[in-house]
């Protein structure tokens, strides 16, 4: 939350000109702690609400905060299509590898072989890579950071805000209570340390052997492209339609 506020500040976004939209989950409550236009949607539905709001007021900043369950499971369809449209939203996904709020059930990003109340024999499903999904679906800015480095996280979010088009910032987060406890990281500092140790910066991966990347999170700006933005394209259609052209 601090990182979002700082990034907004650094980008010079006024409170009245920003909306923060969150879904349901531990990150969902975040919108209610911020002093701007805040909207707390049903589980998984942040991006459709955000798309509507952005298209209604295209010159305002619309920031979306979501969880891994919220955006990759129940909201997975909305996620890929928002990326595909390349609409100018900044989506921050707090990935804690679990359904934190409901008690630690496995989510689409839970590593295989993890324990969860709904997988007492270990999870079978392989995990989604949120950033790869975002890139494949067409998001024009994709970055990853972690809760272990506030400064880095702030910078990634700021770059996401600056970018015109769909920006996805995955933030690797700790849920020591519901995930870590049963998966070898029961304490917050210890889990944050583990996250820190697992990070590899995008800048250095070229020089590392492939094996060194096994089980690591690559952090940094993973991809940034200039692609036509949806709301801007719509504005062109409006111009054409008003002039009677198809």
């Amino acid at each position: 939350m601090k990182a979002i506020v700082r990034a907004m500040h650094e980008q010079g976004i006024a409170k009245d000109d920003a909306a923060v939209i969150s879904g349901i989950g531990c990150s969902g409550r975040m919108s209610s702690y911020l002093d701007c236009n805040t909207l707390h949607t049903p589980h998984g539905r942040t991006l459709p609400f955000a798309t509507g709001l952005k298209m209604a007021r295209p010159n305002k900043s619309v920031i979306v905060v979501s969880g891994d369950g919220d955006s990759m499971a129940i909201g997975g369809n909305h996620f890929i299509h928002a990326c595909r449209r390349n609409i100018d939203l900044t989506l921050i996904v707090a990935n804690n590898f679990t359904y934190g709020l409901t008690g630690g059930q496995f989510s689409p990003t839970t590593p295989a072989q993890s324990w969860a109340p709904t997988a007492p024999f270990g999870t079978l499903e392989p995990q989604f890579d949120i950033c790869e999904m975002a890139q494949a679906a067409g998001a024009s800015f994709v970055a990853r950071s972690t809760v272990a480095n506030l400064k880095h996280m702030t910078e990634m979010i700021r770059l996401g805000l600056e970018h015109k088009g769909m920006s996805v910032v995955e933030v690797i987060s700790n849920c020591h209570v519901n995930y870590g406890r049963k998966n070898m990281h029961p304490e917050a500092p210890e889990m944050v340390n583990w996250i820190r140790e697992c990070c590899v910066d995008k800048e250095v991966i070229e020089v590392l052997p492939v094996e060194a990347l096994e089980g690591k999170f690559v952090v940094g700006v993973l991809s940034q492209k200039q692609r036509p933005e949806y709301a801007a394209q719509w504005a062109e259609i409006v111009e054409r339609a008003k002039n009677g052209r198809h």
Partner: protein
């Protein structure tokens, strides 16, 4: 001077929406509603509006809520299966008090059912489709000039009462063409949401103390506040305080029920001397009108009660209208949905259902036959559902 055009029901909805000030439509294609989207995709950009085809109906419903918070008048249109998908976010709009219009052009169900044929099987879903107690306004016209006016009214009521309004239609009305009297824009009454008249520090978006419908600030206009589907207090922030929770939900329900006189519209035709009253709405009412003419020519004094506002239910009006009738027939293109509401409301005369779910409109002769059968034999058990002969 109104001008006359021949139009389909779906085109009427699209055109009336724009006249009502709708500038944002999000949808997902589904028969028999798709023409509404097609017309708006063409017309909305011409007036500076937004048209979105979303990835599904859940997203379309979410998008119109988001855009409404941004200050636009918004609409989505769908049919049966899509209407079911709208329900989750529709409940959010009820709870967070976000004006919007949801059109459901009914087709045969359940499930994929009869996609290209008319039915009236969603009248209860329109009332109770989303979870939890919630207020809702549902309008259902029976001809296309009325469709125009009720579409405009749907937006007006949504804005006035800060609530979603459902506009029902059916495949028959949606796809048929008839002569439509289109009013001059200058003659239309257009209602816009009431904005706060206090400075932002004093604004309470969900105030329970002063009035049933608190003013609504749009996003990005200096009134920063929180909108949530969680039970909230007068500021919009979540609460589990039992008194606040109860007070909010009671206000929510009351804003519709206490304003029923304004929200309700209905038609009465020939009930003054009627021995037989017939309750019908939407496409089925068109068959009933013909049946009544036929019955009258046969010497049976029959009359029509046609709710235009289905929900809230017009209890009082129905009572007064049928007070002199000896029996009340309920004609619906479903297995018997509104008849239960009629039975709840009217207890002093026999109520007989005429129901058809074949995907075919109800033939006026079928209604005439049922009424005459009842009058001649007089012995249909109370509340019997009359099975149409196949």
């Amino acid at each position: 001077m109104p001008h006359i055009r021949s139009m389909s029901g779906n085109a009427v909805i699209a055109e009336a929406a724009i006249a009502a000030g709708c500038r944002f439509f999000a949808g997902y294609p589904i028969t028999p509603s798709s023409e509404i989207a097609a017309v708006l995709a063409e017309e909305l950009p011409k007036v500076g509006g937004v048209f979105l085809q979303m990835e599904d109906e859940i997203a379309a419903m979410g998008a119109i809520i988001g855009a409404s918070l941004g200050g636009m008048k918004t609409m989505t249109a769908t049919s049966g299966p899509g209407f079911s998908l709208k329900q989750e976010n529709l409940g959010f709009a009820c709870m967070a008090e976000v004006p919007c219009v949801v059109v459901n052009v009914m087709r045969g169900g359940p499930s994929t059912g009869l996609p290209t044929l008319p039915a009236q099987g969603d009248v209860m879903q329109a009332r109770w489709g989303t979870h939890g107690d919630h207020p809702i306004i549902v309008l259902y016209p029976a001809d296309l000039t009325e469709m125009y006016h009720q579409t405009v009214r749907a937006f007006n009521l949504a804005e006035q009462y800060r609530t979603p309004v459902i506009l029902l239609s059916d495949e028959l009305l949606g796809h048929m063409s008839e002569r439509v009297e289109i009013p001059d824009a200058a003659d239309l009454t257009i209602v816009n949401r009431r904005k706060p008249d206090v400075p932002p520090e004093q604004y309470l978006p969900y105030d329970v103390r002063r009035e049933l419908v608190p003013p609504m600030a749009n996003f990005f206009e200096g009134y920063r506040y929180h909108v949530t589907g969680l039970t909230h207090d007068e500021t919009g922030f979540p609460t589990e305080d039992p008194d606040l929770a109860e007070a909010q939900l009671r206000r929510l329900m009351l804003k519709v029920s206490a304003n029923a006189d304004d929200i309700l519209e209905w038609e009465e035709d020939g009930l003054a001397d009627a021995e037989i009253a017939i309750f019908a709405y939407g496409a089925a009412a068109r068959s009933v009108r013909e049946a009544i003419a036929e019955l009258r020519s046969l010497g049976v004094r029959a009359g029509l009660f046609r709710p235009i506002t289905l929900w809230p239910f017009p209890d009082k009006a129905l009572h007064l209208a049928v007070s002199r009738a000896g029996a009340l027939f309920v004609v619906e293109m479903n297995m018997g949905q509104m008849i239960r509401e009629v039975e709840r409301s009217i207890r002093h005369i026999p109520i007989i259902g005429v129901h058809k779910v074949s995907g075919q409109p109800i033939d006026p002769d079928e209604i005439v036959f049922t009424v005459r059968d009842y009058l001649e034999n007089g012995t249909l058990p109370r509340n019997a559902v009359y099975q149409m002969s196949v």
